[in-house]
Symmetry: D2
């Protein structure tokens, strides 16, 4: 590939994050084909033009279908609202574009299946924006697991907590509507699910309890409205490997800002991690004198690639946005048919399947086996 | 009460802990009736004599029934193996003695009920050794909750993890036999249950997954034997208050030594605690400028009674054994008919009930309501 | 300014860091004039061309003086070895360019004075690369201090430790030669000095003890050579404000990777910070009930500008390289004559003065007053 | 020794702490001669009687000389105000009693020398109450150092901070009077000095800066009075071993409650410790893959004797008062002429000498060599 032409749909939080990644990936890694920021789409042409200027894109449009039709565009970043993901991704793939689509894949499971089918037919890279898996410290955990540093994993606990829904006085908005999904489960428990998928393989069965911390929320116009989604989800699970585990998600957790806390227990040690301190991982290894045994706290450094592409000195710290740059580099690898560490639409469907099984288990008040096709 | 005559049955870990507490309670608090260490029972007379000397007891016996018959004994510390708790406690109560019995109450639920009945008839103090509830920092959490510092509690997570069963090469011994109980659930999840009981009230319903990290363990004589108990237990629960929660226990958790990690989420804040740092508690309070919001880490000090009875300066730290001294002071209060912060046989039966319901839920693969009488 | 033409000299660690910042500053902040990456200089033309391609620069040259002469270049990033800083900065300023020069300013104090004189004459922005002062959490500390959150500061401790010189078996190289400077003091204690300058004002007097953990180091060719610089420096100081303090630097501190630990004590509270956890700051405020007093640990978020320009959600974390992007934005402000939070050549000279006074105090084994002009 | 007869002078904080230790030492260790609590002295007979009852002593007196004369008393705990230490200790030693004297030894250096002379003549155990050296985790540090776990120590930092003098509105009282001593230096920097002495040997030379955070303090009667002591002391030092270091003490450090933070840097690793988390120690060892290197956090457990005499399970935590029980056991060993880990009057004089040299260095504004006799 002589150069890569980029199209970007959407310029909110994630759209900006994509734009930053596309700007940084070349200078950071130094081994990519030249990246051309070709075409940017927003809901109207003026906003598109403004953002194109800010983000360094050449062309701007008020219609995302213009990107699909643009022969200079090789890959499309989809950072529009979730409901648009299926149409955009399928159209892009059918037009022979590669796709970098923000998570979650699609509100409806059927649509996720259609997206996967389109990716299979197109033979193009179809990658989801699960950026937490790109953290070099998460890769270090994977390396520990592969090399048996803690033996056979038998138990996993993973928590994801933020507090953007914690205030009971916050007005009712779309995140409390049933049409937005289940709540914490699909809103952000998909992130821990992406980590589980990459570190431990596939879930086998689950049982779930979802809860509403607040039965109703105030309306701006006065009065109250019943909350339809669950801000809290707790799941017991079994992996295909036989390991047991607990997944916990709470988007009404006062004080938690970006917590994704992982505890992994194995036959020869254990590992802990917290996304709020994303440049650290802790490992305890069995063996050795009891008087000297303890968790080793490892700081991110150049020994944890591709940290070294960002900073040559250890302990200086990557940031959240850097993860997106790494993801972008893997996307480029996937486009070139090289091995890439990504959640593609295949694995994406597995995650969606797990989410829906968890919701079903909550309804059923019992265990649900996740069947994979 | 002019003075208190003490009888002690058992001199293992917990027996010694009782002996230390009986020696310390008077000098520490300075407001108790004089304590007389009267009579000590062990499995044989020689060991009893040796330990009586070491612990400062006057008389020694190889038969615990001698203590029951000793008119100089007012209260009996029961620190013998769990299977003996019912006989000893019931005999002591029937003889008009007060009872300080180590947890868990009894291996069989029926026996726990009989113990409770004996306590009700006798009208004597009947207190269980749930010492973690005595930590001044746990009392501080209770104070925060009472005063609404974090609003209404809506979600609770509590983990108890140690690693004494973590080594797969450890020989099979009685803790892996079904006759010893369920495993992590009754072996030590009862401690978090005591904390839940005192901080949040009663559990309403539960669903459970218990797991065996190792299917079998080596025998000293060679060969292997199938493990019958579950070293891991994970429980989703609902409180009578409506709050949801997760209880996790793992006695095969490499690296965890005495972890009891609590997370409490409320409508106006959250609280965290870890027994491995038992002199600290953290609280996040909603409100105030976002730029200044964060968890406050509070160090134990004289403002957290009865820390002040041990040390007048803050930040110097209580130890695990000090909790037993506090428990002992509450027992003395209970004996005098004064208000006491203890898990008595009434609350003890509630905890046992919860444990058995959790085990039932595991078998049933569904939710079980805990019915209280 | 309609657009900004960038020249970059040097493409090592800091050169790359500048390049990444110039690529990111526009998309991140969205309010800058367009940035044009015009001209890149390296030691030879081939390397220059390769790096220009990687970093997105238009022109490449093997002679840095070509940048000085290039009318399309408005500002020059100087990331060449320290010894070149004076010649390059002075030439650039004399040619009417703005200058963004990496720290330290210059190996010789006289040269630093000449650089300052050139900046004064040119009336151009002359900014040093002291990026730690740009951390939003450091700015939050400044905000706390300004608003009296901890009262009047009376004592300061600041430590900077890394371990790149910790291995006694590491071969002798230029950092152990006297010609490289004093050692830890000017090699990296200048970073804490930049923080002290921005947070507390100017140092008044100092006394110093510099130490060599290893008297000699092995030579690659065999044998050993005496170490001429000091990897450890410890300084007692007084501020012009009257506050006392301690500055400690150790580049042979095994286990420390990027530690810059700050403790600030005031009449109404205290603040702590550690660069290894650069997204956190802790504050203790006097007052309130003793039972509830503790350090609040604040996580970086959008309430700490310009974090919000990078990520709209709190607790997700900035990285080290992001600080350079913020510095770049302030440089652009300085170029436009707007208020800018930077260490310019004026403050840079103050820092150099402090470094040399500290070294003098070590020689003298006594206190040295830092005289400012 | 068939049994030990105890005399106690003083029942404030430290007197109570001694009483608790004397009550606990036998039951805890199980290998001591029987301990008899014989005689207690307080300023008046009534208080003495009351405290004797509370602490379990047989006899009570209003005159401490009665203890000296009591043939049933073998050892005297001196927990009276510092000014009385010399008279009491010397009288006790001359009467052939062993002495357990609280720190600091004596306000005047001459008196410390006389105490040492008395101890030498008497040939009795003469032990000072430097309890922090008894922490099993401090002993573990000593073990690491002895076994070369971090190679040769080349740099040490030690901080001791509390906040009992932090409030500027606190009324003037004796701790601000010159007659009480230097301030932070002798009031509590002696604790870190005891740790330095036991872990690293003797100090060789020092330079000091003492500071007053508040020039004056309010008087109860109205008005203000100039503060005569220094609440802050900062010291640069060199050890006889050649290692350099920094000692910092601040008793006006808001938020610090019992902090004694130690950092030890060696040629093969480093160790950190904080008394506020007294059951933890961290060690970093050089070597091994960079990707796996980090500080190991070790929790206190039975592998750190004599923790095992208190609790058989790891991670459960000792408390501050337990350290006094350990100290008491070492005192008993010293009385029996067995090896004992204590600061006796010999080492006590070395510590006093260091304190006075530090104060002299502050006056002199330069370095002072500590000469030992």
């Amino acid at each position: 590939m002589s150069s890569i032409g980029i199209g970007l749909i959407g310029t909110g939080y994630m759209g900006k994050c994509h734009a930053l990644a596309w700007n940084a990936v070349g200078p950071t890694f130094g081994d990519c084909p030249p990246v051309r920021l070709v075409h940017l789409a927003e809901v109207d042409r003026d906003l598109a033009r403004e953002k194109a200027n800010a983000f360094g894109f050449e062309k701007a449009t008020g219609s995302w279908r213009d990107l699909i039709a643009d022969p200079e565009v090789d890959v499309i970043s989809i950072a529009a609202p979730n409901a648009f993901h299926p149409d955009m991704a399928i159209a892009a793939l059918e037009a022979g574009k590669h796709v970098w689509c923000e998570k979650p894949m699609a509100p409806k499971f059927d649509d996720a299946l259609k997206m996967r089918a389109a990716a299979r037919s197109a033979g193009r890279a179809a990658v989801l924006g699960y950026n937490y898996i790109q953290n070099p410290m998460i890769r270090q955990i994977a390396s520990f697991l592969e090399h048996g540093a803690i033996g056979t994993v038998n138990h996993i606990r993973i928590e994801m907590d933020e507090d953007f829904m914690a205030d009971p006085e916050q007005f009712f908005y779309w995140k409390s509507e049933a049409s937005s999904g289940y709540g914490a489960l699909d809103d952000f428990a998909v992130h821990p699910l992406s980590l589980i998928r990459m570190l431990f393989g596939r879930l086998a069965s689950v049982t779930t309890d979802m809860a509403k911390p607040y039965a109703e929320r105030p309306l701006k116009a006065g009065g109250k409205r019943a909350v339809e989604t669950h801000d809290i989800a707790s799941v017991l699970f079994r992996m295909e490997s036989g390991a047991s585990g607990v997944l916990m998600a709470n988007r009404a957790a006062w004080g938690r800002k970006g917590r994704i806390a992982i505890q992994i227990f194995g036959s020869a040690g254990s590992i802990t991690y917290d996304q709020e301190r994303m440049n650290e991982v802790e490992i305890y290894r069995a063996g050795g004198p009891a008087a000297e045994a303890g968790y080793a706290r490892i700081l991110a450094g150049p020994a944890h690639p591709p940290y070294d592409q960002f900073i040559p000195a250890p302990g200086h710290g990557l940031g959240f946005n850097d993860l997106k740059v790494i993801e972008c580099r893997h996307l480029i690898a996937a486009m070139a048919g090289e091995p890439a560490h990504v959640i593609d639409f295949e694995k994406g469907v597995e995650i969606e399947r797990a989410v829906h099984a968890m919701a079903e288990a909550h309804e059923k008040r019992g265990w649900v086996d996740i069947g994979y096709d």
